[in-house]
């Protein structure tokens, strides 16, 4: 366990003016970027990572976490005001948020979204801070065989739960693993699939792959789908009634059970790799509606609907860091990008992190606590300002993002070769999106690929090449059995939906 001195030292590192400035900047950027449909905090994190090179690890990671947290708040703004979610997880917020806006209660809805977001986020941060250290101790007892089984479990869950098709999910995972094979073989350091390009000896650069698939591919798609309109107009209107411009304490308190339910759902789903905030938001919404005495009011401007979705999708952010910090397994694309940021600063996420970098981790926890307060404060004062700023035309926003991607990848990954890789993966990302293969699975698999291969090699060595000896590792066997069960349940669910004509 981490000793008290380390915890206090970490927290004191976090609560400095320097770190505070970076967290503020991160939260501001996250809220702003998430409020622009088509950009989103994931893209912002990917673009921002290269620009954090010159910083110390704590302010760099605190800034990126601030972007994540700000993003959970900002995505609700366009969802409520123009029924266009800024982020996928805000799609559920639009169900009741936009009807509220049409009733002249836009500010009430956006403020409730803000309060619910912060509440859910704080809950999951408390869980993260409480369970991650003990979980890391447990994880340290896992050997290569258990790690291998855990990765198989992660791939099974991710492939099956993201997207409509298990087969497409499996293909996306396989393609991601294949991309990870490019570069030096981890055991022998012999070059693989580099085709004479020694820039690829260290493998494909993650910033290039991530930015290409997440940012450039999405931007180009949106550019191509434009119908000749170059505006992104978001208007805030209200009927002048002060009660519609704020959230009273009574209204907030009336949503307490809803927010708690959403926070629990978000935390549980966020701690499981691959499920993500969108599923958490919709699950929380459906369970709140089912538990409501007036379910018919949902979808027509019920504040409980907004509270349910926002508390859940924000709770995922903190919980995503549980598998990241304890096992080194990203629970989402944002977490995978955060891992790359850790590694850029010379830190290897995983169970050893608490032993070797305990002070940094508790510094990060301190920064997360700060970010929650700042999210609330900046959200309150920045709401009307974001709406003005994000009224800039899409043409300007998209070309700015493209230029930032080119420069960012060039800085992060060593030159224009990496930018070319980014462009190639952008094309791949477009094709995958068009034919409904999940990019999220691809990126997570790409990131886990080298570790997966090392775990296979180490397990093979440990078992002297006889894989039947895996039966001597009960935890690994249990994880593999659970993986098979998960796949079976997913297949059964899929077959049921096919028979019902739902797909």
């Amino acid at each position: 366990m981490v000793d008290l001195d380390t915890i206090l030292a970490g927290l004191s590192d976090a609560f400095t003016l320097w770190n505070l400035c970076f967290v503020i900047f991160g939260v501001v950027l996250g809220q702003l970027v998430a409020a622009i449909p088509g950009i989103g905090p994931v893209m912002a994190i990917a673009i921002a990572i290269p620009f954090t090179f010159g910083l110390d690890p704590l302010p760099a990671i605190a800034f990126l976490v601030g972007v994540c947290k700000g993003g959970t708040v900002g995505g609700a703004i366009p969802a409520i005001l123009i029924n266009t979610p800024g982020t996928p997880d805000s799609a559920a917020t639009a169900l009741d948020g936009h009807p509220l806006a049409r009733q002249g209660k836009a500010l009430k809805a956006t403020k409730l979204a803000l309060f619910s977001s912060v509440t859910g986020d704080t809950f999951s941060d408390i869980v993260l801070i409480t369970v991650s250290a003990p979980l890391a101790i447990l994880a340290l007892r896992m050997g290569p065989v258990e790690v291998f089984a855990l990765m198989v479990f992660a791939f099974a869950v991710i492939s099956g739960l993201v997207g409509k098709s298990l087969i497409k999910g499996a293909i996306a995972a396989a393609l991601g693993l294949l991309a990870a094979m490019i570069g030096a073989d981890p055991e022998n350091a012999s070059p693989r699939l580099i085709f004479g390009h020694f820039e690829l000896f260290d493998g494909l650069p993650l910033p290039a792959v991530a930015l290409g698939m997440l940012a450039i591919s999405e931007i180009v798609t949106r550019l191509a789908r434009n119908k000749g309109i170059s505006d992104a107009a978001i208007k805030l209107s209200d009927d002048g009634d002060p009660a519609n411009q704020r959230v009273s304490w009574a209204e907030y308190w009336s949503c307490r059970y809803t927010m708690l339910r959403g926070a629990v759902i978000g935390t549980l789903l966020g701690a499981t790799p691959g499920i993500g905030s969108t599923a958490a938001a919709f699950m929380s919404y459906s369970s709140t509606k089912a538990a409501s005495k007036d379910p018919d009011s949902f979808g027509k401007g019920n504040i409980q609907g907004v509270a349910a979705t926002e508390s859940a999708n924000s709770a995922v952010v903190g919980a995503n860091l549980i598998p990241l910090l304890t096992l080194g397994i990203p629970g989402s694309v944002s977490a995978a990008l955060l891992i790359s940021a850790f590694m850029i600063h010379g830190i290897q996420p995983g169970p050893m992190l608490f032993k070797e970098q305990g002070r940094l981790i508790y510094g990060l926890f301190g920064a997360m606590i700060m970010a929650n307060f700042l999210n609330l404060w900046i959200g309150q004062i920045g709401l009307r300002l974001w709406i003005k700023v994000i009224s800039a035309p899409q043409s300007f926003i998209y070309i700015s993002a493209i230029m930032l991607c080119i420069v960012g990848v060039s800085m992060a990954a060593g030159g224009l070769f990496s930018v070319t890789v980014m462009l190639l993966f952008a094309m791949l990302g477009y094709i995958m999106n068009r034919y409904e293969f999940s990019i999220v699975i691809f990126i997570i698999s790409f990131f886990l690929g080298p570790r997966f291969e090392i775990s296979i090699a180490q397990s093979t060595s440990l078992m002297s090449g006889d894989w039947t000896k895996i039966l001597e590792y009960p935890i690994a066997v249990a994880l593999l059995v659970i993986s098979v069960l998960v796949l079976f349940l997913i297949l059964r669910r899929s077959a049921h939906r096919v028979s019902q004509g739902l797909i």
Partner: protein
């Protein structure tokens, strides 16, 4: 016979797997006997898995993806412009090429207002120059 999109995708994936297994990997991966597993073990397994999944995708009942050739042509055009821009950047540098790249994309997108064109073509590159060169003290491509 109109083939469903998933069927075509499945066949392509299966073919890709076979090409990787029998053509690419023998050429592009060295054969080494040291170590617990060979360098081509996992790549071969992935390629075989792709073949199986591709066949399964091809034979299962799938969906027809809506085809929008206008969108596809525009996507190709934007990618071509960005690729041309990268080629030009490699010869002339980011600061010289980026205004033209921005102008091309914004005009094709439909932007005509001088103020936003100026901000995109001049303002944003200037901001990036300031951020990268002055603040971060790094170099631009």
């Amino acid at each position: 016979m109109i083939l469903e999109t998933d069927r075509i995708a499945g066949l392509i994936i299966a073919t890709l797997g076979l090409v990787l297994l029998f053509v690419v990997f023998p050429f592009a991966i060295e054969d080494m006997d040291d170590g617990s597993i060979k360098p081509d073990t996992l790549p071969n397994a992935i390629a075989a898995f792709l073949v199986v999944c591709g066949i399964l995708l091809a034979i299962k009942r799938g969906e027809q993806t809506k085809r929008d050739s206008r969108e596809l042509m525009l996507v190709l055009l934007y990618f071509a412009i960005i690729a041309a821009g990268l080629f030009a950047i490699s010869h002339f540098g980011f600061l010289i090429v980026s205004p033209f790249l921005a102008l091309a994309i914004m005009l094709i997108f439909g932007e005509r207002r001088p103020i936003w064109l100026a901000l995109g073509c001049v303002g944003m590159p200037a901001f990036i120059w300031f951020l990268v060169i002055q603040v971060l003290e790094r170099s631009l491509p």
